[in-house]
Symmetry: D2
Subunit: 157 residues, 4 copies
């Protein structure tokens, strides 16, 4: 069971989140590949049981670099059906588009037939950092990773 | 493994969808309870492994009768974690708010920690009927039900 | 030119926001009526050039009491066309559904043919308070009110 | 008063919509520039009072080529405040992500401080074509264009 974490990061905030999530998933004894989204090819996506995308909040959706990969993944449409998905974002501002940015990724995952889970505690749709990773966001990333790993084991195990 | 389908219907369009989905889930050998949302109490929700809500598209979200049940479900917050969720809607118009209506229910389910799955074919977020149930919408309801049952068996089985 | 601010509030957080916005709009020399949503009838809505709704974030959308008014407003569908709309929310948590809650109201306003404006600074879709009104949220409410009044004067003036 | 219609089109469906909207806006005696999004530079956006973006529905949001322009527009953040915005999409399927695709553009416009209006008839958030432009979609495009022009004249006139 392998998990890909693909992220775009300009200032480093999203990268920090990605690394925190990667570390926490490894502790759950799952293999994790952490990559900048520019290094991921659409054809790679089929090789993972879990896919997590991280993005800065740019105008209420994901960075175009993430969207480019999602658009190109149409060549493998139907092949991601039943995989587990998740998303996280860093944002400048509390009401600044972070939830809609996460939604923009989760919607793409649903359209691929993927499975997603929310959280009744913390950041419900996926982890959000306001600026650099603070304690609150770090805890959300760790909790998200643990739940993601649990779901992956249940479904793909 | 029991599934609750709770719906609000005024003209009968949403009811038709609910009945079609219920019938298809029964064929998958799962127990299904079909109820008008006004007859469902928040405390009932914990008794099912799968929850499906159906609503007409009213101003881009679910009917307030559905939202009332969701708001009251806060008394059982945390107890729906890990359950499987899905949503469907009937709408007057193609670009008439049907996707956002389904999203309004799926978002609540994610906030409960529930698990949802999209579909790479047909109506990606959940079945949509434009007006009364036509062949297209019927096929979407049946396909949705089959996939929902498959996921439920995989996770709760 | 009259503005209605209709809000639902249980703990008082949303009410605080409503009062702050009302006060700031008054300073712009517009008439403001501030009402609990339970006291507003759908037929009242046609009497205002500006409509602002405030809600706690309940499961990612507005409280059902707000949705009930929106659903009942269908009796006046077409009569709100061209009015100015806005929304605000109080929420327990940063990634807790606040943006989708605001969206659930703005979507209804768009479906009524209403006009909305975002903000390039602060909370982009509408003011968000995390818990009680702090300095950050207060400034956002004041800024939102000023911009709302400016737009109303430009369009209805 | 000038309007820019920027679109991405692969199969020609979105282009058809763009041309229909452009023609209808011209009939309202406004200057319209119609461009493939690849030909638009972010710095161009400040020169128009009205901005309309058209996209195919790709995984529930706009094509990355549109998003790239939106991301690059950050260099002019604050300069689009108060402009009029709108969006349209072509999609393969009724419940196929068309509303969320339009929302992905409207959200970006709100974050720029732009003004948008819905429609109480037809496609509420913006015109949607399912496949090639049919009569229904054509009428929606024409109606959208007329309302867009009316709002632009009222605000910028």
């Amino acid at each position: 069971m392998k998990v890909l974490i693909a992220y775009y990061s300009k200032t480093g905030n999203t990268k920090q989140m990605a690394e925190t999530i990667a570390e926490s998933i490894k502790k759950e004894n799952l293999e994790v590949i952490l990559k900048r989204v520019e290094e991921v090819k659409a054809e790679d996506l089929v090789n993972y049981q879990g896919l997590i995308f991280g993005t800065p909040t740019y105008y209420g959706t994901c960075a175009y670099q993430i969207k480019k990969l999602l658009d190109e993944s149409v060549a493998f449409h139907g092949k991601l059906d039943g995989k587990i998905g998740g998303a996280f974002t860093s944002s400048n501002n509390i009401g600044g588009g972070n939830e809609t940015a996460i939604s923009s990724i989760l919607e793409a995952m649903l359209i691929h037939g993927m499975i997603i889970q929310g959280d009744f505690q913390g950041d419900h749709y996926g982890p959000v950092a306001i600026g650099a990773l603070d304690k609150r966001a770090e805890a959300n990333c760790q909790r998200f990773a643990k739940r993601f790993a649990d779901l992956l084991k249940k479904i793909s195990g």
